[in-house]
């Protein structure tokens, strides 16, 4: 079996003697005998080589597709080599939450840099140090907007369904009513929004680009929300912000999203990164860790965890959230990614996503696939109908090592990133052509 205990049997005997015991068993004398476990029914331990083989075998039972045209909340982007090299540094990897600022300046400064980058990206004033993922970020955001006479939460039906489910769970447990407004032609309808808004509405959550890839008309929607006195929470894809108008420019009160595209692998769903930024006025309602700049007694600039009066370890049941551990290393990943890409690189990534998606849409269009959202602008995803059996089509693609789009509402939700080169798209299209018998 494997073990990471350095002390030898003899040393342990010596240590036992020091504390006045003669056997390891006596350490558990306080446990009532009737519940003492004398044998754990799990397999025997393994050497490192054996366990390494076991894990490789498990990994080998998964298929990693050469090319991926599926997104729907998890996106395969190119990850610069330096991202992994930085986040693999053992100091960052093996540190705890930076409670002791004097020996944690590295982590604290990196979070401060991350906060700055997220504010810049989203056009907002304040960022927290991360929450679990995009879905929990959306849930925390709508709960931030709760006021004495306003509790209702409205979510557009065009949001990612897993985000909608998560928001419903979080709101349900606090008895916060949730209204999901139906999508019209795969986008949020201002009329439906107006109808749903009530005097007790605290927040409206709209995702743009939405689940179907459509860039929502936020410039029309946000004023409607604000007229009713509710707060506008916008879910965004961070890569799209290299190109598209920011939540800040659009007038949102809070911006949230899934940070995974910023340098994290798709990894079967996690760890990912929930980012949250907001206007100055809502700063003290933000959940989670926040790092601030200050000075030490000699006037040197330094960074600390701050505004802790919001948090669970101080406020207990009155805290703004229960969050303690967050996704710090993922936040650092995003920060290194954004620094490596720079403004030009991020713009190029966003442009390339949109360009490849358009090229694919046009090619599929020639084969009789129609974009179901019509002429509405989209970013890097779009939903088409499928003139042939979608199961058959996806199976044919899989055979050629291509993960096709996701079957959604009887159609297919396609996604392109900068990783899907023209050659990859042409290859996909030629297979589709074959399946369609054209």
């Amino acid at each position: 079996m494997g073990s990471y205990i350095p002390s030898t049997g003899e040393e342990r005997q010596e240590m036992l003697k020091t504390i006045g015991l003669s056997s390891m068993d006596q350490l558990y004398d306080v446990v009532p005998e009737e519940v003492r476990l004398h044998s754990l029914d799990i397999p025997e331990g393994m050497s490192e080589m054996e366990v390494s083989r076991h894990m490789e075998e498990l990994a080998g039972k998964n298929h990693v597709f050469r090319s991926v045209f599926r997104g729907a909340g998890a996106y395969r982007h190119y990850i610069p080599a330096i991202v992994k090299s930085v986040t693999g540094k053992e100091e960052f990897l093996t540190a705890y939450t930076p409670y002791q600022a004097e020996i944690s300046q590295g982590v604290l400064q990196s979070i401060f840099e991350y906060q700055t980058q997220m504010c810049e990206l989203t056009g907002m004033d304040v960022s927290n140090a991360s929450v679990y993922d995009g879905a929990s970020a959306a849930a925390e955001a709508v709960l931030m907007c709760q006021e004495r006479k306003r509790s209702r939460v409205i979510i557009s039906g065009t949001a990612n369904p897993q985000v909608i489910e998560t928001v419903k769970t979080y709101c349900g447990s606090r008895n916060v009513p949730v209204t999901v407004i139906p999508a019209r032609e795969y986008s949020t309808d201002p009329g439906e929004l107006k109808n749903a808004l009530t005097e007790d509405t605290a927040a409206v959550y709209i995702q743009s680009p939405n689940y179907y890839g459509v860039i929502e008309d936020m410039e029309s929607l946000i004023p409607v929300i604000h007229e009713s006195g509710a707060k506008a929470v916008m879910g965004v894809n961070p890569i799209s912000l290299g190109l598209l108008k920011t939540p800040g420019e659009l007038g949102a009160d809070i911006a949230v999203g899934e940070g995974q595209p910023l340098g994290m692998p798709v990894a079967f769903g996690g760890p990912y990164l929930g980012f949250m930024t907001c206007r100055q006025a809502m700063m003290r309602r933000l959940p989670g860790r926040i790092v601030g700049e200050t000075t030490d007694k000699e006037g040197r600039r330094c960074f600390v965890l701050t505004l802790q009066a919001r948090e669970q370890h101080i406020r207990r049941e009155k805290a703004s959230s229960n969050i303690c551990s967050n996704e710090a290393l993922c936040a650092m990943t995003a920060s290194v990614y954004l620094a490596a890409m720079g403004p030009q690189g991020l713009y190029r990534a966003a442009e390339s996503c949109a360009a490849h998606a358009r090229y694919l849409a046009a090619e599929l269009g020639k084969l009789g696939f129609h974009i179901l959202s019509g002429e509405r602008p989209f970013f890097h995803e779009f939903l088409t109908d499928c003139p042939v059996d979608s199961g058959k089509l996806l199976a044919a693609l899989a055979k050629q090592d291509i993960l096709g789009g996701l079957p959604v509402d009887g159609g297919i939700l396609w996604c392109c990133t900068e990783c899907n080169s023209k050659a990859d798209i042409d290859r996909l299209v030629s297979i589709v052509k074959e399946v369609c018998g054209k």
């Binding site: 494997g2 990471y4 040393e11 240590m15 350490l27 558990y28 004398d29 446990v31 476990l37 397999p43 025997e44 331990g45 393994m46 490192e48 366990v51 390494s52 894990m55 498990l58 039972k61 298929h63 597709f65 909340g73 998890a74 395969r76 330096i82 090299s85 960052f92 093996t94 705890y96 409670y99 020996i103 590295g106 982590v107 400064q109 990196s110 840099e113 991360s130 679990y132 929990s136 998560t166 447990s173 008895n175 420019e249 760890p271 860790r289 601030g292 000075t295 960074f303 207990r316 805290a319 959230s321 650092m332 620094a339 490596a340 720079g342 403004p343 991020l346 358009r358 090229y359 602008p377």
Partner: protein
């Protein structure tokens, strides 16, 4: 030290992406970003050096002793990292067809089987991303159960006054009212106070055992019985499971659901604050309420399924999957003998270090402890003006991460020490020597303690100004 933004020079960049090989998209001008995007413009070499410098100003488990109470800062095995970096795990999309991700589903299934046996539970979900997220999920199981049975009035969760702050905060998020019960003179749950607190409005009790003063509650069976008799359920906060895994199971102590911290007990690294993983286990009668989806085995393959009365989701997809991979690698390495040996080793190390410090430091509870112990500096604070904070900060000068300070709240001037099993006797002896030396300094040179640390990149930061005049981002 310079910020990334202060290293930025216009026009510099890393070369990452090729030019776009298809025609660019023509977006309507009104959709495009007008706001400037101040991301760093930096060369790859400068970027690399920036983080190397930041790493030098960060203390991790691999840098030295890290006896941070309640956080179980044990060694993070390298093989676990290597397993989680396998392309067969990192490169799979969460929405691939199940046939193409059978290995990943097997990881979830196999880890579930192991943790069910370790905790004495009947099912496990990996969706929660951290301990507090697990607490929230576990409490939603309790809430769902009472609502399902038409017991809407069961809306109070009992939490001992020694509990972690996340407990009451999670209860509140889950829609419960929190009832705090006091601890008895031994740091355990006061049975009379508990009896007085339970009633027809009791939804359940949240308990950490061993508790936050590092003691196994000898009345534990009585405690869970009192709660059950009142119609409530018992929630086990797995924060301190590292003391008892393989020796006693929450499921056998009367607990109905649990959360574990894979990033504490099962050796996954903390990453400077995350990502963690907070799987939740429960007894059979609660499984119908678990978050969806769960994994089941059908003959020789794995399938997802949605429990009958599922609470829904608490997060996207299946949780922090790669952290689960690390935990599985760890558990399979230790196995049936290694798991109880690890916990016993943690208890031995804690008692050994406590013994070495006894006499000079006052123990909050002077008895055999579990995996951690709590000291109180109340006497020194009163007599010499030397506080828990002073001792903690002086430890930094010796390359030791301080214990958890000022927690639990029921002990004044508390320092909570958790050495973990992965430290050698030499490390403990050396640390004990430093703790004792610091107490000598308290007599000879108390001022030096107030001013500590002396050898860190910065001195004590001005936290008051940080909170009063928050500067939370760099201004361009």
């Amino acid at each position: 030290m310079k910020l990334l933004f202060e290293r930025s020079r216009k026009g510099r960049q890393c070369c990452i992406l090729p030019p776009c090989d298809v025609e660019t998209a023509a977006f309507d001008e009104s959709l495009l970003r007008k706001a400037p995007l101040h991301l760093p413009e930096i060369s790859e070499v400068d970027l690399g050096r920036h983080y190397t410098e930041l790493a030098k100003q960060t203390h991790g488990v691999n840098d030295g002793f890290y006896p941070l109470g309640s956080c179980t800062m044990k060694y993070n095995p390298r093989i676990d990292e290597e397993a989680a970096a396998l392309p067969g795990f990192t490169g799979i999309h969460p929405l691939q067809e199940p046939e193409s991700v059978q290995g990943a589903m097997e990881v979830l299934y196999e880890t579930e089987q192991l943790l069910k046996e370790i905790t004495g539970m009947d099912a496990m979900t990996f969706q929660p991303a951290a301990g507090a997220h697990g607490e929230y999920t576990g409490l939603l199981l309790i809430r769902s159960y009472h609502l399902h049975n038409g017991n809407k009035e069961r809306n109070k969760i009992i939490v001992p006054d020694s509990a972690h702050g996340t407990n009451p905060a999670s209860a509140s998020m889950a829609g419960f009212e929190v009832i705090s019960v006091k601890s008895d003179e031994n740091g355990g749950v006061d049975l009379d106070a508990l009896r007085a607190a339970v009633g027809p409005d009791t939804a359940g009790l949240m308990l950490t055992n061993p508790n936050t003063v590092g003691l196994f509650d000898p009345n534990i069976l009585k405690i869970t019985e009192i709660v059950h008799q009142a119609g409530g359920l018992c929630y086990y906060d797995g924060a301190n499971l590292n003391a008892v895994m393989g020796h006693v199971r929450p499921g056998d102590l009367g607990f109905d659901c649990v959360h574990l911290n894979l990033h504490k007990t099962f050796a996954a690294p903390h990453g400077g604050g995350g990502p963690g993983s907070g799987p939740v286990g429960c007894k059979e009668f609660l499984t119908q309420f678990m978050p969806a989806p769960l994994v089941k085995k059908e003959e020789d393959h794995f399938e997802f399924f949605v429990p009958e009365n599922s609470m829904g989701r608490v997060k996207s997809f299946y949780g922090n999957f790669l952290v689960v991979v690390k935990a599985l690698t760890y558990i399979r390495t230790l196995g049936k003998e290694g798991i109880p040996e690890a916990s016993a080793g943690a208890v031995l190390n804690a008692n050994y270090l406590m013994k070495k410090l006894s006499g000079v430091y006052d123990m909050a509870f002077d008895t055999l402890c579990m995996h951690e112990f709590v000291m109180t500096l109340q006497r020194q604070a009163h007599e010499k003006g030397v506080t828990a904070m002073d001792v903690a900060k002086r430890l930094l000068d010796f390359g030791i991460h301080p214990p958890t300070m000022y927690f639990p709240l029921i002990v004044h001037e508390a320092l909570m020490v958790e050495p973990t099993e992965t430290e050698s006797p030499e490390t403990l002896d050396e640390a004990a020597g430093i703790f004792l030396k610091i107490m000598e300094e308290a007599d000879t040179d108390p001022e030096s303690l107030h001013q500590a640390p002396h050898s860190c990149p910065i001195g004590r930061p001005d936290e008051v100004t940080a909170a009063r005049k928050p500067v939370l981002r760099y201004q361009f």
